[in-house]
């Protein structure tokens, strides 16, 4: 019986190597199969993003005229006038992601190790994934002075009127949308921590907090970090939550501002520059998160 894994592994190695043997034909077929995906991505993702960068160096909407004016002025405008927007975007994303980490980790741990109704939790947790629009809309209603949440908030001594259009509510709304991302990343990484390791640590005399600090956390932190950064990436793109739940200060986020610049004021140059800044922020976060969740995305 002991022999069984060995030939299977050998076989795999052989198949792997046989691929390199027929390298050329095989990789040609591979590229052929990838062609539709690559064409779509180039046409509708890479080219548009490159184009966005180009437009970000034109003045207002001159790009659509015959003689576009190339200038770095849009970025100067961002530095001069829109840095608060950049910081608001970062601040809200940071706060929402920290909220997710603080409240999401215990949730994930209990979910992974303690309870039996996981399917129910997983099923109900899809509601936030339907999108921030419905979440924000629903929360807005709950918080209305005479809404269904009012008695409960009164009971807790919270002034609902103050909560609506506040930064706290904006952050909560954002965090609610990204909460499942945090939870699922942590659950996935906890699944890689064999519970018997925890039991082993316990039998070796480690207290529960020691087990956590020395065994669970070191083994699961890449997933925790990946979850945090994934939430961060999503939260940077926040758009609708500040509209419905935030006040004017919270509405100074990049997505919202660039949409207004482009579609109300037709200042495509400035909007594109904001898009480039936002994209740079999001890709930095993604790049860092991919480094930490190495292998999670496969290949």
């Amino acid at each position: 019986m002991k022999e069984i894994p060995v030939p299977a592994a050998m076989l795999e190695a052989e198949i792997e190597q046989s691929k390199s043997g027929r390298f050329q034909r095989d990789s040609l077929v591979g590229f052929g199969l990838l062609t539709p995906a690559i064409v779509v991505v180039i046409l509708f993702s890479l080219a548009p993003l490159a184009y966005l960068i180009l437009v970000s160096f034109t003045s207002e909407s001159t790009f659509f005229f015959n003689n576009p004016v190339y200038t770095g002025g849009n970025y100067r405008t961002i530095v001069d006038r829109f840095m608060p927007h950049v910081w608001t975007t970062i601040r809200l994303a940071t706060l929402a992601s920290i909220f997710n980490l603080v409240f999401g980790f215990p949730f994930a741990y209990i979910l992974a190790r303690k309870i039996r109704y996981r399917e129910l939790v997983r099923t109900l947790m899809v509601f936030p994934l339907f999108g921030p629009l419905y979440l924000a809309f629903g929360l807005f209603y709950v918080l209305l002075p005479n809404g269904p949440g009012a008695p409960f908030l009164d009971f807790l001594g919270i002034d609902a009127a103050q909560l609506l259009f506040s930064e706290q509510m904006t952050v909560f709304g954002m965090a609610l949308f990204t909460f499942p991302f945090m939870v699922m990343n942590v659950v996935a990484s906890l699944a890689n921590v064999d519970p018997t390791l925890e039991e082993a640590a316990r039998t070796l005399g480690a207290a529960s907090w020691q087990t956590f600090v020395r065994v669970v956390f070191p083994l699961s932190w890449p997933g925790i970090l990946a979850g945090f950064l994934m939430c961060y990436g999503w939260n940077l793109g926040v758009y609708v939550v500040p509209i419905l739940l935030g006040g004017t200060p919270q509405q100074r986020v990049l997505s919202l501002t660039l949409q207004q610049k482009a579609m109300s004021q037709f200042d495509y140059g400035l909007a594109s520059a904001m898009g480039v800044v936002l994209m740079a922020l999001a890709f930095t976060v993604t790049w860092v998160s991919l480094r930490f969740s190495r292998g999670a995305l496969g290949a």
Binding site: M1, I4, V6, L11, S18, S20, G21
Partner: protein, 365 residues
């Protein structure tokens, strides 16, 4: 029903040689086993016959027709996998019918063939079950039925029993042999389990590091190992280093060599072109060492004396380690008289060697 020939077949993966210089002529209806440790190239060889791996060089022929380059699905072979490889989303009947439906046989013919196959593997009425609902042995039997349903020219077995437990292995290996004998199909069977190989093969190819070490009948392999590897790999063996002192050629042309192994001498069959003065390893199996009763001391008759160092009672056999002039030898005694040996601890015994085979020392891999 096919003759299968492999001529100087070689398979390289980059710099690694998986199989080299493999030649075999397998007769119609013959049952051949490729035996060897994992990584010896036996599975690669089988996969080349199946067309799942392309040989780097060499020729493979079915009935004198070159089949290199013929895709697997056009070779009309049957392959039994290590894991049964039953399609998990199809019922037993659908699995058995799969090959026939690929050949676009009429529905009625397929249905009757499936019934026939289920009868043959004694699983009548199991057609609607899913593979997951069967026991390991039943799964492997269905896999055999699926493979035989298309009436393949050659049957290939890739360690089909290694995932099963021992009892099942013992019964199934005879079922496989029985099926092959009844269908009279050429079969190539890959295994690392020598008892399997001995039980069912007409001919065994012992492989190591991509090469055939020895090809022959069970008796050839067991009693007349051609190389040190074969002697060590197949069964237990005692290896006694020595030098050939003389060679006598018998009437039947057999060459019997007398080997001096330190303090004692022994005689063995010299298969290779060995000559006087060669350093050799003399192999003698524990069960081919006889403990001679009494206190006969006649070295000229090929008897040696040693001290019993350890005795283990294993039920049907008694295992002893006997120190003969500094060389520890494993001796395995069976039969009724084995019980009389149990009180021989620390005592002198006289041993007689039978079927000693000689292999040139260090001549091999």
């Amino acid at each position: 029903m096919s003759r299968v020939q492999l001529i100087s077949v070689e398979k390289r993966y980059g710099q690694t040689l998986a199989v080299t210089d493999f030649s075999a002529d397998i007769a119609d209806g013959e049952f051949v086993t490729l035996l060897g440790p994992s990584g010896c190239g036996k599975t690669t060889t089988l996969r080349m016959v199946a067309g799942l791996v392309d040989p780097t060089s060499g020729t493979i022929l079915f009935d004198d027709q070159v089949i290199n380059g013929v895709p697997t699905n056009k070779r009309n072979i049957g392959l039994a996998f290590q894991s049964h490889a039953l399609f998990p989303h199809m019922s037993v009947a659908k699995n058995i019918a799969f090959g026939l439906s690929m050949k676009r046989k009429p529905k009625r013919e397929i249905a009757s063939k499936v019934e026939e196959m289920l009868d043959m593997i004694e699983m009548t009425g199991f057609g609607d079950r899913m593979p997951g609902q069967l026991s390991g042995g039943q799964q492997q039997r269905v896999a055999l039925a699926r493979m035989l349903a298309t009436d393949p020219r050659v049957l290939l077995f890739d360690e089909p029993l290694s995932a099963l437990d021992r009892n099942l292995r013992d019964t199934l290996k005879y079922s496989i042999l029985d099926l092959q004998r009844r269908t009279k199909k050429t079969a190539i069977y890959v295994t690392h389990d020598q008892s399997e190989a001995f039980a069912i093969s007409d001919r065994i190819f012992v492989m190591n590091q991509g090469r055939v070490e020895q090809a022959g009948s069970q008796l050839d392999i067991y009693l007349r190992p051609a190389t040190e590897f074969v002697a060590n790999f197949v069964g237990d063996n005692n290896a006694i280093p020595g030098t050939i002192e003389s060679i006598a050629v018998g009437e039947d042309g057999q060459r019997t060599a007398t080997v001096s192994a330190g303090a004692f001498q022994l005689r063995g069959l010299a298969l290779e072109p060995l000559s006087v003065g060669d350093r050799v390893l003399a192999f003698v199996r524990p069960e081919n060492i006889e403990v001679v009763g009494g206190d006969i001391r006649d070295e000229a008759d090929g008897l040696v004396t040693g001290t019993v160092e350890q005795i283990v009672f294993e039920g049907p056999t008694v295992r002893m380690t006997v120190d003969v002039a500094g060389t520890p030898l494993n001796v395995s005694a069976s039969g009724v008289e084995r019980l009389t040996l149990l009180d021989k601890g620390d005592k002198q015994v006289t041993l007689r060697f039978q079927d000693v085979s000689l292999v040139r020392q260090g001549a091999e891999s």
